[in-house]
Amino acid sequence: MQRRLLMKAALTAVTLTAFGTTAALAENPVLKIGFVGVTSGPAAAWGISNQRSMEARAAWINETGGYTIGNTTYDIEIVSFDDQKDPKRAIAGMEKMAQEGIHYVVGPNVDDGAAAVRPVAESNGIMYFPYAFPKSLYQAPASNAVLGMVANYQSGPAIYKYLMENEGVKTVAFIAANESDPLSQRDGGVEAATALGMEVVSGNVTYQVDTTDFTPVLTPVMRTQPDLLVLSGVSPANAPQLIRSARELGFQGLISTETAQDAGVLAEGAGDLANGFISVGGASTPELASPMMNEFVQRYTDMFGEYNDESNTKVYALEYILETLKADPSAITDVAAFQATMDTFEAPNPYMNGDAKLRYVGMASFGQRRQVAVPLVVNVYQDGSFETLFVAEVD
């Protein structure tokens, strides 16, 4: 009898709690934004920083009353799908988004996944924001992909030119993981360096994605004694090990990459050996980060226990989607309206100090506005944190 009473009481409590929660969430209608990317396996860090950036920002918006688009205030819900870096899974993820009636998706994180989901996205009226660089994704007749970051063929030449002019760099060596993204970034880098008049002394050394010890891989590259070693498309997991091995093999030159990195990971994995390492960041340094960026970092840290510097570049996609929808509320269900708005859209960049703007660019690279205008901030790592080397504009 007592047990039955206890069970009834527990059931009542659970029911009331569930109703209470639903009632609290149901105050605003929900706007679902999707994420399809890699959150497991060796490349998990790429997608998790995306997903957590979106979740941290959505929680912040919901906590402060929701996001107003037109006359309606929405709670933001992030619907995530782990594609495991597998194009087949990425397609399944995008189909899931279509089934849920989602029209705006961040991801996928890699080239083949982004290419694979294109037919699904275009046939189901989904705009998606990949972190993948192939130009064909963004050039007409492709219509629904928007590059979510600065591409290596945009940042690479800027970095090489800066280093040629300021550091007297004349020779360069490239090393890349043996998979599509890093290899295409390496090829783009070799092309850009050659066009600038640099001598490419080593351009075909690659390593397995799961390599953990880079000394044997780097030994032949180090024999070429380049002024600059470019780690093409390097993941944050591999960057410290590559830097450490290169320095231990006696390399004295500069080391750079065109991907975003995390200062904490570099500090732990390479320590002082990472000093001088050049990478691409977002509004990451104290002089660039606005109070809103600082609050985002704090909220992300509170929510997940630790911030990831990669999120400096990944905080933008959700903001772009919401701000563009705010500019034309009919775009919530009509991506054609979204695409039309992209051509003229402009809003203040809330994450950077100064008068930086959120707007869509890409005319020079793609012939249409299919890239978010995030600042090209080139950082240099020094004693545990990033310092701004220079800032440039894309397009």
């Binding site: 998990a44 075909n204 000394t215 891989v217 997991a237 410290p240 093999l249 990971v265 994995g269 320590g271």
Partner: protein
């Protein structure tokens, strides 16, 4: 040439250690432990937490990795593998269970340790440089020596202790061992714990060189399986030879074939396929299992 030899010895010793635990578990229980790589990763993270985060001396942190993984291995054997082996005669049941454990451990690692690459301070500073013909950081030399000593200690344990003899008897013939009075359940658990402990030990050792991250488990398991297949599944000396051979193939391939891109592993896989077609039981395995 000196550099290739040094890289081969270094890679071979660490690979041999990774393969040892896997082949031990296979020999004792006929279980392909797909979660071996995840156990290696947990070993790395435990050492990272104790040594890198809390400042505990490295040796103590390494012991903590071994103890943690031994306990984890014992629990997994007692509460997961043992009931499944008793309840199902089909080998794929244990394979599916091992795969499930691997996914579960991956998820747990993400929850507990996060998605980032982690690293610890170097245990020894400095680089040995012989006229730029042989360059090897001192910490790698130390880890290589420790790995070789651990392998020797493991062989000693298996050859000269009562536990080792019981484990070898179990590996040779489970029924005969039971008839001779070996407590099969107890030694199965000890063997699984020992295999997991070896994964933890090598994870703890290598975190000082390679760091550790969530995604290392799967690729580590695949590499360990390759070494075991080369040497012969379930044969301790085979795992050691498999590791050494793979280490040298990798070191030679990376040094000689670099100008052709990353074809080293392509050639290794092709060689492995041809080798297994000719000798499916591996170098030291027996054709009858």
């Amino acid at each position: 040439m000196e550099q290739i030899l040094a890289n081969g010895v270094y890679l071979g010793s660490q690979y041999a250690m990774i393969a040892l635990g896997l082949t031990l578990i296979f020999a004792l229980m006929n279980v392909l432990n797909f979660a071996h790589g995840q156990m290696y990763v947990i070993g790395g993270f435990v050492t990272y937490t104790f040594y890198g985060q809390w400042g505990v001396p490295f040796v103590l942190a390494l012991v903590m990795s071994c103890v943690t993984l031994a306990i984890l291995g014992a629990l997994i054997e007692r509460f997961l593998f043992a009931p499944v082996i008793k309840g199902s005669a089909r080998e794929e049941s244990t394979m599916l269970l091992a795969a499930g454990i691997a996914f579960f451990l991956d998820a747990m690692i993400l929850l507990v340790f996060g998605e980032k690459q982690r690293g610890v301070p170097k245990i020894v500073d400095g680089v040995f440089n012989y006229d730029f013909r042989l360059i090897m950081p001192y910490d790698r030399i130390l880890i290589c020596v420790l790995a070789i000593l651990s392998i020797v200690a493991f062989i000693g344990l298996m050859q000269y202790t009562k536990t080792g003899r019981a484990l070898r008897a179990l590996a040779q013939d489970r029924t005969a061992a039971q008839l001779m009075g070996v407590n099969v359940d107890r030694y199965s658990m000890i063997g699984f714990a020992l295999g997991a402990m070896l994964a933890g030990l090598v994870g703890g050792l290598l975190v000082t060189i390679t760091g550790v991250n969530l995604g290392m488990g799967g690729p580590t398991s695949i590499k360990a399986f390759m070494m075991v297949m080369i040497g012969g599944a379930g044969v301790i000396s085979g795992a050691i030879w498999g590791g050494i051979i793979l280490g040298f193939m990798e070191a030679i391939g990376l040094a000689v074939l670099y100008q052709y891109g990353d074809i080293t592993y392509l050639l290794i896989f092709v060689s492995l396929m041809i080798f297994l077609a000719i000798r499916p039981q591996g170098l030291m395995g027996k054709p009858w299992g």
